[in-house]
């Protein structure tokens, strides 16, 4: 029955979230933004989940884990497919430096103070706390480029600038995934060697499935047949990872990357087929992730303002640093940091994956802070992005008339 309940809830929410009235930014700008990014589903999930109203119990969530692994697998495959080696090889080195700068500064701004705060509030061993803080930093380092993309599509931002911001935000995903892999190496098994083995198993599984999907989709022309094969492929990689209790997200990334490498011309069609079920799967994942939020987690609420503020500062400072690094390679907007405030869904994917594989009070705190932070950052980003569009105030020189 719980599956029916979730399905009906999501169907109702989908209709609600595609309502023109709700999506009209002139009426409800914050809500419209959350609906467009899908994070409104996170809020609904948190409301209906066991942490608040309790329409869905913890046992229901346990039964719905396969859906979460499907969502994580799909997200991973999409991320992996974006890794086009030919395009990456063409990018000049300053672009990578810039991406690393804005992601790295936000990571350090959040991870270091949060490690201290977690040490004080949780009193867990140092190694465990450092792992949790690193994951908070990794989530903070992620940015979503959807504001920039919407900005240049609507003509409010120059196309070159919008694309440059989107490129930087795409590259920072790898910082987050790398930290997740490290966190899983350290925390998902009894020893570091076992943890490393499990991460390697996830990657190997993903590569195998990626090669298999590339072979299965080769010469398939019909889009509905291709969509069915992609749906089966994504379910296979996410399901196999979930069955073997390894990361579905990392397996998906490896699968997508392998597909991009060996898929040849079919990759574009595969991406199109994937696009047909990407949005519903993502919304389902975000809704179920929301159900895992413990709204009564006081420690998370205490940490949340610090996390958001530190990330904001890190992004603003990291953005100016990134702009300096990529000055010769990319045409970036003057207040780049303000364009990097939106966090997007990947941060939620990272922490929900960590929570599934390394359950415990610390991973629950980390999850709660990042999930709630993603919503706050989305609302903040809406306002912050206006500063990117406005021209910077003219510098008044002394002695000028």
């Amino acid at each position: 029955m719980q599956a029916l309940l979730v399905f009906l809830a999501i169907a109702a929410l989908s209709l609600l979230a595609s309502s023109r009235t709700l999506l009209d930014p002139s009426r409800f700008p914050g809500v419209a933004q959350l609906a467009a990014s899908g994070l409104i589903f996170l809020i609904f999930g948190a409301l209906l989940g066991p942490g608040l109203i309790g329409v869905l119990s913890a046992e229901d969530l346990q039964g719905l884990r396969p859906v979460v692994s499907l969502g994580l697998g799909t997200a991973g495959v999409i991320l992996g497919l974006n890794l086009e080696p030919r395009v990456l090889r063409l990018l000049p080195r300053p672009v990578f430096s810039a991406a690393l700068a804005h992601a790295g500064v936000a990571f350090l701004f959040v991870a270091v103070p949060m490690a201290g705060a977690l040490l004080l509030t949780t009193r867990l061993p140092l190694g465990v706390v450092v792992g949790g803080a690193a994951l908070l930093g990794a989530a903070a380092s992620l940015s979503s480029g959807h504001f920039a993309v919407l900005g240049y599509r609507s003509g409010r931002m120059e196309r070159a600038r919008g694309l440059a911001v989107a490129l930087l935000t795409m590259l920072d995903d790898w910082v987050g995934l790398l930290v997740l892999a490290l966190a899983l190496v350290l925390g998902s098994a009894a020893s570091v060697a076992d943890g490393g083995g499990l991460v390697a198993l996830a990657l190997l599984l993903g590569m195998l499935c990626g090669a298999l999907i590339a072979f299965l989709t080769y010469a398939l022309k019909d889009l509905s047949e291709l969509t069915a094969v992609m749906l089966g492929g994504v379910a296979l990689v996410g399901g196999a990872a979930s069955y073997l209790r390894v990361s579905a997200l990392l397996a998906g990334v490896a699968c997508g990357a392998t597909l991009a490498l060996v898929g040849g011309r079919a990759v574009e069609q595969v991406a199109r087929a994937l696009g047909r079920f990407e949005r519903p799967t993502y919304l389902m994942l975000v809704f179920l992730a929301g159900c895992y939020v413990q709204a009564r987690d006081v420690d998370a609420w205490v940490l949340l303002p610090g996390y958001v503020a530190l990330r904001f500062l890190g992004k603003v400072w990291g953005g100016s640093l990134a702009r300096r690094f990529a000055a010769t390679a990319l045409e970036l907007p003057p207040r780049l940091g303000y364009a990097l405030i939106a966090q997007g869904g990947l941060a939620v994917c990272l922490v929900v994956q960590y929570l599934m594989l390394v359950p415990g009070p610390l991973s629950q705190h980390v999850f709660d802070v990042v999930a709630l932070g993603a919503v706050v950052n989305e609302v903040l980003a809406n306002r912050a992005f206006r500063h990117v569009l406005e021209p910077p105030p003219p510098v008044v020189k002394e002695g000028a008339a």
């Binding site: 499935c209 298999l212 509905s224 089966g232 492929g233 296979l236 073997l244 209790r245």
Partner: protein, 432 residues
């Protein structure tokens, strides 16, 4: 076809690899999504292989499910297959919705009475033959041996009502696959649907008589209200769904395949919770739409074809994976005898009672009536739950029969449609 065989082989090899790693990994998680992905992919490519051999795709879906499922190679865990029950309900509802859109008033006026008469004849003859056979097997069948004669008669009647049932799911899926159209196809589809309505009523009566023979009392009022609720309640809920669907199509009119999947999901799950027949709910919804708004009924047909491929492939592959091959060994001879007698009874009654104006009905109709699947499974499970003393053994016998019918039935149904000259080939990849 060689490409499809290589792809299927690779898929099975990957599944074998995952299964091997699982043995090494002690801490395993949920296997439902693995089962869904693996059965969907295997089903899609096994369907292509089956088509290459001139068999229905559906046979490929079922066979591959049997091979990789928990009772043969064991690459897919049993818990994973059990977790796909929701998909099964969804597929039955989608198939029934499409079937319903074929039932317009004109068709019912044209063939309704003839179909009903033939249905009574076929079901009656088959019931009598199977009833006599089951009762005659009393000394051999372990669950009948200790019963008194009246009890054995009642249980034989109960088993025979289930044995009579047809499979609208398989028939409609094969009709879709072959794009068959014409009077023979209409007659066959109407017959299997009406036949299952008869079976539902007969089953409720036989269950009531059986309960009474074991000292439970014969509750006529409860019996009538139960049957009435299942039949009329299903039609009522189906009418409600039809109205919701029509309003959606007229007002919102976006993402129709997704909405249909959601609605059928609700019909399947809600129907079984409310003790309604999900098949009848979706069937009556489809029939009402077909007669109220023909243009939208065509759109539904098209939308289900788009959403149907993964659902059908997964449904039939999961049905195959759930077949317990071991049951064939334990109750094999008795089941095989009943399979043969049922086929002979259907064949002879079609030859004798089918309308004479179309000779194809006399010659080929029986082949389309051999399949058994979802409804029969459901009734067998119901016997198992309602009569815990002997029900599980009856279920084993019926499941053994279904296993045979699932493998032979789709091939025969396809042959019937081809020989009638109404099958139009299987060129479209989106067909089941």
């Amino acid at each position: 076809m060689s490409g499809a065989i290589i792809r299927l082989g690779l898929l099975v090899a990957v599944l074998a690899g995952i299964s091997g790693v699982q043995e090494w990994r002690v801490d395993t998680g949920n296997s439902v999504m693995l089962a869904a992905g693996a059965l969907l992919l295997c089903g899609l490519f096994a369907g292509k292989v089956a088509k290459g051999f001139g068999l229905p795709r559906l046979t490929g879906y079922i066979l591959v499910g049997v091979v990789v499922g928990p009772y043969a190679l064991g690459f897919i865990p049993g818990e994973g297959v059990k977790g796909l029950e929701l998909v099964k309900g969804l597929a039955v509802s989608l198939i029934a919705l499409v079937a319903g859109t074929e039932l317009n008033l004109g068709l019912i006026r044209r063939v309704g009475m003839k179909v009903a008469m033939l249905c009574v004849a076929v079901c009656g003859v088959t019931f009598v033959v199977c009833f006599a056979a089951v009762f005659a097997l009393k000394p051999v069948l372990p669950f009948l041996t200790p019963m008194t004669v009246p009890q054995a008669l009642a249980v034989s009647a109960l088993v025979s009502t289930v044995v009579v049932s047809f499979s609208p799911t398989v028939t409609i899926a094969i009709v879709q696959e072959t794009s068959a159209r014409g009077s023979f196809t209409e007659f066959l589809m109407a017959l299997v649907i009406i036949g299952d309505l008869f079976v539902m009523v007969a089953f409720a009566l036989a269950a009531g008589v059986t309960r009474a023979s074991f000292g439970g009392g014969f509750d006529v009022q409860g019996l009538l209200s139960g049957v009435g609720w299942e039949l009329f309640g299903s039609v009522g809920v189906g009418a409600l769904l039809a109205l919701i669907l029509l309003v959606y199509m007229r007002r919102v009119n976006r993402e129709l395949p997704l909405f249909l999947v959601g609605l059928c999901f609700a019909a399947a799950e809600g129907g079984s919770r409310l003790h309604l027949s999900p098949l009848l709910v979706a069937l009556s919804a489809g029939a009402l739409i077909a007669n109220l708004d023909e243009r939208n009924s065509q759109r539904i047909h098209h939308a289900i074809q788009l959403a149907g491929l993964p659902v059908f492939a997964l449904f039939f592959a999961a049905a195959g994976a759930g077949l317990k091959l071991s049951t064939l060994v334990t109750v094999g001879p008795a089941a095989l005898l009943l399979v043969v007698l049922r086929a002979v009874a259907i064949h002879q009654s079609c030859r004798r009672f089918a309308p004479a104006e179309d000779p194809r009905l006399k010659r080929y109709l029986w082949m389309g009536l051999i399949s058994q699947a979802g409804v029969t499974f459901g009734l067998a499970a119901l016997i198992s739950r309602t009569f815990p003393d002997f029900g599980p053994q009856v279920e084993v016998l019926i499941v053994a029969m279904i296993t045979t019918h699932e493998l032979v039935g789709p091939v025969l149904t396809r042959r019937a449609l081809e020989r009638s000259g109404e099958a139009r080939g299987d060129e479209r990849p989106q067909t089941a």
